[in-house]
């Protein structure tokens, strides 16, 4: 039997396949299809301190092999989560990871402190890379001082596994990765969406209410893969690969490029079973190639 277990710092996962934040709700919606306990982990929808309505409709535009979204972190706030959602989902037998967001460092800290109290949340993913909110969000993620500052403060407030989610909208993502590693991040996950835009040529209007939005899906895979490879070669902490992963082959490519685990995002919209199929596909690959441990794939690209 092949061993699918991987470790992100102290966090042990059954397998390297997580769902990406904002693409798998609060895990309950996937439960409508299958038991999420099969998954390596579930990243919950981005959460802020207070309720956020998100952006106006339209929030979505289809593009070639991808899509733009401008959801803008719609969520009911951390307190609502703790009181209403957490009790319902906390006993799912898979690590549930809260995706922490804020407009200010203080907000990030406050959300983190509250999550720190939740027994069944073994890790947080610090989102310093959301392109769809006016303040905070990506602003922290595109400069080293910004990324350092928020990571440092959140690190102080958090005892468990701290993953920092990086923005691809930067000149050199390794600089940011090294900066957050230096401030105690246990892992980096990348990438978040690319800032993009779509236009209705006939009506001469933008297709998103916010004009620009975040690009995800297979279209971005080659860039995300390159970034994972660069970051893997630049930091010592485990890298979580994200970006256009649709099937097991894609997932394996990210692992070969250096990812310890991967997240499946947009693929879930096309097929809610995508993460489960990817686990199966990785399993088959390992058997076929006679590889004992999935962790042996990490960085195993032959140059």
């Amino acid at each position: 039997m092949v061993d699918l277990k991987v470790k992100i710092a102290d966090l042990e996962l059954k397998n390297p396949v997580m769902t990406a934040s904002g693409t798998s709700g609060f895990a309950e919606e996937l439960m409508d299809f299958y038991d999420v306990s099969q998954l390596g982990a579930v990243l919950l929808k981005g959460t802020t301190l207070k309720n956020r309505d998100g952006n106006e409709y339209p929030r979505m535009a289809e593009t070639a092999s991808g899509m733009l979204n401008a959801v803008g972190l719609q969520n009911k706030g951390i307190d609502y989560f703790i009181e209403n959602i957490y009790p319902r989902i906390k006993d799912y037998d898979t690590p549930l990871i809260v995706n922490v967001n804020g407009s200010t460092v203080e907000e990030y800290i406050e959300v983190t402190e509250k999550v720190n109290e939740l027994d069944k949340i073994p890790a947080i993913e610090l989102n310093i890379s959301c392109p769809n909110v006016k303040e905070g969000g990506m602003a922290f993620g595109v400069t080293c001082p910004g990324a350092e500052m928020v990571t440092k403060e959140v690190r102080k407030a958090y005892d468990k596994t701290l993953i920092v989610k990086l923005s691809p909208n930067v000149t050199d993502i390794t600089d940011i990765a090294k900066a957050v590693e230096g401030q105690g991040a246990d892992s980096v996950s990348l990438v978040n969406t690319f800032l993009g835009m779509a236009i209705d040529a006939e009506k001469r209007i933008p297709l998103l209410s916010t004009i620009t939005g975040g690009l995800s899906g297979p279209a971005i895979k080659p860039i995300a893969l390159r970034m994972v490879w660069q970051v893997y070669n630049a930091v010592k902490i485990p890298v979580i690969g994200i970006g256009g992963i649709m099937n097991a082959t894609d997932a394996i490519e990210f692992m070969l490029a250096g990812a310890t685990a991967i997240q499946v995002g947009t693929a879930i919209f096309k097929d809610p079973f995508a993460p489960v199929k990817i686990i199966e596909g990785i399993n088959d690959y390992l058997k076929r190639h006679n590889i004992q441990r999935v962790s042996d794939l990490t960085g195993a690209l032959q140059l």
Partner: protein, 257 residues
């Protein structure tokens, strides 16, 4: 718990109904769960470079004996066009059942069902499922011209059929909201509607004024169809709700119209 599925269905029928509408009947391998009016399926459109996401279509008819469900697909853009080209015996992958459902009326209630364009699909399904005396059901179907109307004669056993067309070529001339059965809404205990946004808003306005129970089914751009992406929102009195999971059916009192 696991009440939704992704499955390949077999295309057992694809009939062109009129210039732009097609009836596509899909047969499932496994037994269909109980399906309700208002629910929809999310269809994988194969064979196009420029269509990436699935496309949502309302459930129009269900036959549990045959294990089939049918859709009415109107050609709007590239994906719907491609879907109408699907052939018998090909497979069609769907995510289903999605969305909430219309409130089933009580025996004895008088109801008005209004369908515009491909919005007739869930209305006819609802008419059938209601199980009411045909005399207490008014079906009002609207389209631009007679040509654009779908033949609904089979449904006269579930309710009285009324037609509106913009050019007067079938039934009364004008919009559904100008039709005689729409004039006195107080006559109805419940109004249900599905169709273009502008139509839904016009109906909602009158129903509100008449203070009649009214549910509308909304259409908007969806990425996932099952409530995880939050792309398909509609503002409600309780904040932004997803049309795909909290909807597509909304009571007009909950909408911010």
């Amino acid at each position: 718990m696991h009440n939704k599925a992704v499955a390949d269905f077999l295309v057992v029928e694809n009939t062109q109904l009129n210039s732009t509408n097609f009836l596509i009947k899909l047969k499932g391998e496994k037994d269909l769960p109980k399906l309700y009016p208002g629910q929809f399926v999310n269809v994988d459109i194969k064979g196009l470079n420029d269509v990436f996401l699935r496309r949502p279509f309302s459930i129009f008819e269900v036959n549990y004996t045959e294990n089939t469900l049918s859709l009415i697909v109107k050609i709007l853009g590239k994906g719907s066009k491609k879907l109408t080209e699907i052939k018998k015996d090909e497979t069609c992958n769907i995510v289903f059942p999605l969305g909430n459902r219309f409130t089933i009326p009580n025996k004895g209630e008088k109801i008005l069902l209004i369908g515009g364009g491909s919005g007739v699909a869930p209305m006819l399904f609802l008419a059938k499922v209601c199980g009411l005396d045909a005399n207490s059901v008014n079906l009002l179907l609207g389209a631009r011209t007679k040509e654009d109307h779908i033949d609904a004669t089979n449904y006269s056993k579930y309710g009285k059929l009324n037609f509106a067309s913009e050019d007067g070529s079938l039934g009364e001339k004008g919009f559904v909201t100008q039709h005689s059965v729409f004039l006195n809404l107080k006559l109805y205990d419940r109004i249900y509607a599905c169709g273009p946004d502008a139509m839904m808003k016009a109906i909602a306005k009158e129903a509100k004024a008449a203070n009649v129970f009214c549910e509308v089914s909304l259409e908007n751009l969806m990425a996932c169809g099952f409530g995880v992406c939050l792309c398909c929102i509609e503002p409600t009195t309780d904040g932004n709700k997803t049309v795909c999971k909290n909807g597509p059916v909304f009571n007009i009192n909950d909408l911010k119209w």
